[in-house]
């Protein structure tokens, strides 16, 4: 009996990648969507199997064509990458399943096969990053996912998406180029691209200028892709003007993957070898994280368009993830990785609910949404519960990461108390910006005629509520993400001297 499960890391990438050209051929209405859903669900199933394997203590390493690393291409999945894979494939599946109606409305029929092919390529690129174990393949996957997601964002009917995506394209390309320059320099000095190999070889040249420059390029490049404050300017408009289903998909996982890579690269390659790098890492990221949390939440307080409001909230939440990582402790990294999962869940659900609202409302400014809760009770309730998760009300997923973050901050002593204050203030800001939306959808006087507004289509509601229930489930029984996150934190720290 052949053990098929060894091939899972390869299948994880191959399935969506090969389905992409296949989707292109499916002209008849709806078939391309069905193919995309099937591929995405299949990828999700693979991610679940990988997660189960990792939880059972297995570490997946796969050598393409049996060529041994560092000469051949190596793929690998550990707890950290499994967590990210779950987020990506889950988000893609839910966004596709729930988004059928709104995508049909947004994308003309003859362009749909192209659109879904791009979607699958984006998916393949995104899952490729956590699976790949060498720096150059990661770059390739990064480019695949970026190029495909530019297409996705610009795919909708909103022409404002074009300047937004152009900005994203320019900044994303700068980020990717910086990353490429960084790994180029490292390759120059060490002669290897395999991350594990790099970790060993870089030691001898760690004090050389090119390596220090490379560390700078890689960190800044990835921070740009991850929308780390103040390199986040591409994000709000890209999320706002993308088709709603695309926003669900990208908001849940696009920046997360770059964060994943930032952490993995830094902890695997730089932290163990560069003297004093951990302190630099902390001192560099912690202030940025705090600024992101406070300033982006502050902007969200005054934002009128709810998609943009949630996008700024994402910038703030990326700050949370970085803040946890900047502690360089087990609890901090656990907080950071578990928040990566929980935030994807909460924000994805919120954007799903926004997608439901968008099927019925003329616009997505607060003033357009006055009183719609009466007409759309299920959508409104879903939004409220997902909002609780974003705020971090106990009983929802968001609370678990907040608990870890505050505990991690308290471990830092007196500095930690100031950081707890930051976290508390930003939670309260989240209460305010979520509640502005809640008050207007429930209590504001409608300024447009709502008589034509109906509850969102059941197919959308079902998947939105599935995501809502997942928020509650992972708030009450968070064993799986917490186990993955703490194991990921251990793996990251193991590499420190």
């Amino acid at each position: 009996m052949i053990d098929w499960s060894v091939h899972l890391p390869a299948l994880q990438v191959i399935v969506p990648m090969l389905s992409a050209p296949f989707a292109l051929l499916l002209r008849p209405r709806g078939l391309a969507w069905a193919a995309a859903v099937a591929a995405s669900l299949f990828a999700f199933a693979i991610a679940i199997m990988l997660t189960l394997g990792v939880l059972a203590g297995r570490n997946f390493v796969y050598q393409m064509g049996n060529w041994p690393a560092p000469y051949g291409i190596e793929l690998g999945v550990d707890a950290f990458s499994a967590l990210v894979l779950l987020v990506i494939t889950g988000a893609s599946s839910l966004a596709l399943l729930a988004g059928r109606r709104s995508l049909n409305a947004d994308i003309e029929e003859e362009r749909q096969p192209l659109f879904y092919a791009a979607w699958l390529l984006a998916l393949a690129g995104l899952v490729g990053i956590p699976v790949a174990a060498d720096a150059f393949n990661i770059f390739v996957f990064m480019e695949i996912s970026s190029l495909a997601s530019y297409v996705l964002i610009a795919g909708g009917p909103d022409r404002r998406a074009l300047p937004a995506v152009f900005k994203y394209l320019i900044m994303g390309t700068i980020g990717a180029t910086f990353y490429l320059i960084g790994i180029g320099l490292i390759y120059l000095m060490t002669g290897t691209l395999n991350l594990a190999d790099m970790e060993l070889r870089i030691h001898e040249v760690a004090d050389q200028k090119p390596i220090l420059v490379a560390a700078g390029f890689v960190t800044i490049g990835l921070a740009l892709k991850a929308a780390v404050f103040p390199l986040h300017v591409w994000l709000p408009n890209a999320y706002t003007y993308a088709p709603n289903a695309v926003t669900v998909f990208l908001a849940a996982c696009a920046t997360k993957v770059s964060l994943y890579l930032l952490l993995r690269f830094d902890f695997f390659v730089f932290q163990p070898n560069l003297v004093g790098h951990d302190v630099q890492f902390s001192y560099f990221l912690m202030p940025l994280a705090v600024l992101a949390i406070l300033i982006a939440s502050g902007v969200a307080l005054f934002e009128q368009n709810i998609k943009r409001l949630l996008a700024y909230s994402s910038v703030a939440q990326i700050g949370y993830i970085l803040l946890g990582a900047s502690f360089v402790t087990i609890t901090g990294l656990t907080a950071s990785t578990v928040h990566l999962f929980n935030h994807a869940l909460a924000k994805g659900t919120l954007f799903l609910a926004v997608g439901c609202l968008a099927t019925q409302c003329t616009g997505l400014r607060l003033s357009d949404l006055g009183g719609v809760a009466k007409r759309m009770p299920w959508t409104a309730a879903a939004f409220v519960v997902a909002g609780f998760s974003l705020i971090g009300i106990p009983g929802t997923a968001g609370f678990v990461s907040k608990w870890y973050l505050i505990t991690a901050a308290l471990e830092q002593g007196s500095l930690g108390i100031a950081l707890v204050a930051v976290l508390v203030i930003s939670s309260l800001m989240a209460v305010v910006y979520i509640w502005r939306i809640v008050e207007s959808i429930y209590f504001a006087e409608p300024c447009t005629d709502l008589s034509a507004v109906r509850e969102a289509p059941p197919a959308m509601l079902v998947f939105t509520w599935l995501a809502v229930l997942a928020n509650v489930y992972f708030g009450l029984v968070p064993e799986v993400p917490v186990a993955l996150a703490s194991s990921a934190a251990e793996t990251l720290l193991e590499h420190l001297p």
Binding site: F388, I391, G392, I393, P394, G395, V400, K402, W403, Y404, I406, T407, L410, E411, V420, V424, I425, S427, L428, V431, W435, E439, Y442, F443, G475, L476, V477, P478, E479, V482
Partner: protein
């Protein structure tokens, strides 16, 4: 059924009730109300079924899940929580009868939503009462805040939404801003937040940090309405009166003082706090709240707002009694939760009855109203006497124990406060009683009216009777709460 099953049943019954209410509302209003009453009855039965085991010294418990290592969702019944759960679940039955009369009598809209969130609020209350650790308590504390928001914002007009925003704003700000850091601090230093007889913080925190942590708890538990975090309670008075009666005189506010009492007894430990000078400020803050809230109450013209400020003062009685840190005073605190609940729910019921029958909300409109509504005003009088603490009402019993505890601790501030507040209570309640019974109406009402609907009068008569009965029949409560003291000196 064993204790664990009963706890689970008590937690999920109101939730199933909420679903049942939603389903039954399709059939009709009567079916919906039947489900509410049935759920309330079943809940009270489940809660009371736990009493025998507890009286024999058993501590039924239930483990649900572990969120983070060391942080669990778990439940355990102990005397204080039993008292609170029994109180809230029993009064829910009476309050439901009242709600039916009130909501129909006033033709309120969105009644189904009202009953659904009421049931959810009760589930949260039971969760608070039976929580075995700080985290579980916090979980249900927040559920209670959020589930009562739609009840406060019930009317939905601009003024109500503004008040509801104050309500939610104060409660969430305090709980996320102060209570949550306090709870995480406790878990961080003690490694656990399980309520343990004698406390868990001894040797873990010392010096001024104890006072600071106590401060985070007392002001973080906004539901206890210790000044200056009391503003939400008058704001909550925009809610329909049944909400004010059961939630903002019993369930929500008692959840606040209950939490403070539990934290002091089971987290800090009474002896530990008594030996720690940095915690001494609590008595003074509570005393200040009692006096200040009573003075503000004196100046109120709106009956419900007056009752709200009276509640703020009475809640601080419980806080002050707990802060005296003597066994008799702790018993007094527990007894006062019950005595005040009976008295204040009666007062709110009466206020709601007056509104339903006569549409009157202001004090000066109440001249001579007792002639039209003798039952209502008789009940109001009994409730008011209980607030003042005159025998034969329940308020006397608790005041007796709190005073005894204050003497035990030689705490003259507390003694003086109780005496002064008794005078103030008399000063704002007696004029209303006098006006209602002995003065003549200035102008005849635009519409002739008698008593409020039968369901309303029935409910307030029962609670008034309970207020009187508690003076004579408080033995079981005392017996239960003595168990609480066994671990204390």
């Amino acid at each position: 059924m064993n204790g664990g099953d009963l706890i689970l049943l008590a937690l999920v019954l109101p939730l199933f009730g909420a679903v049942g209410i939603a389903a039954a509302s399709r059939i009709g209003a009567n079916a919906r109300e039947a489900v509410t009453l049935l759920t309330a009855g079943a809940l009270a039965w489940a809660v009371w079924s736990l009493v025998p085991e507890l009286m024999q010294g058993g501590r039924p418990s239930l483990f649900f899940s572990e969120i983070v290592p060391g942080v669990e969702i778990a439940f355990k019944v102990e005397p204080l929580g039993m008292l609170f759960a029994a109180l809230a679940s029993s009064l829910w039955i009476i309050n439901s009868i009242y709600s039916i009369g009130y909501m129909r009598g006033n033709n309120e809209s969105n009644q189904t939503r009202f009953y659904i969130f009421f049931a959810v609020a009760l589930a949260a209350t039971i969760g608070i009462a039976f929580a075995d650790n700080l985290f579980t308590l916090f979980l249900f504390y927040e559920v209670l805040t959020l589930s009562t928001y739609p009840l406060v914002a019930h009317k939905g007009d601009a003024k109500t939404v503004r008040s509801a925003r104050v309500y939610l704003g104060v409660l969430l700000t305090t709980s996320i801003g102060l209570l949550l850091p306090a709870i995480i601090w406790v878990y961080f230093v003690a490694g656990t937040g399980t309520f343990t007889a004698g406390g868990i913080l001894e040797g873990k925190v010392a010096g001024p940090a104890v006072g600071l942590l106590l401060g985070l708890f007392v002001f973080g538990i906004g539901k206890a309405a210790v000044m200056p975090v009391h503003r939400w309670l008058p704001a909550a008075m925009v809610a329909p009166t049944p909400v004010s009666a059961l939630l903002h005189a019993v369930a929500v506010v008692k959840a606040g003082v209950f939490t403070i009492t539990k934290v002091i007894i089971y987290i800090f430990g009474v002896d530990f706090l008594f030996a720690e000078p940095s915690s001494g400020w609590l008595v003074y803050v509570a005393a200040f709240t009692i006096i200040a809230a009573s003075i503000v109450a004196l100046r109120q013209q709106n009956l419900k707002r007056l009752l709200a400020y009276s509640t703020i003062a009475q809640l601080s009685y419980v806080v002050m009694a707990t802060a005296i840190l003597k066994p008799l005073a702790e018993i007094g605190a527990a007894v006062h939760m019950v005595a005040h609940a009976f008295g204040k729910i009666t007062l709110f019921f009466a206020a709601g009855a007056i509104y339903t029958a006569a549409k009157k909300t202001e004090l000066h409109q109440l001249r001579g109203i007792a002639r039209r509504m003798p039952w209502t005003m008789a009940a109001f009088t009994i409730g008011a006497l209980s607030m003042i603490g005159v025998p034969p009402t329940g308020g006397f019993v608790s005041k007796w124990y709190i005073l005894a505890g204050a003497f035990q601790a030689d705490n003259y501030v507390a003694i003086a406060t109780i005496i002064a507040s008794t005078a103030l209570n008399a000063a704002y309640f007696l004029p209303i009683i006098y006006m209602a019974w002995f003065l003549k109406e200035d102008t005849p009402p635009t519409k002739e009216h008698g008593e409020a609907p039968f369901a309303v009068v029935l409910a307030l008569t029962i609670t008034a009777a309970l207020t009187l009965a508690f003076f004579f029949l408080n033995g079981p409560v005392l017996k239960l709460e003595r168990q609480l003291m066994q671990g204390l000196s």
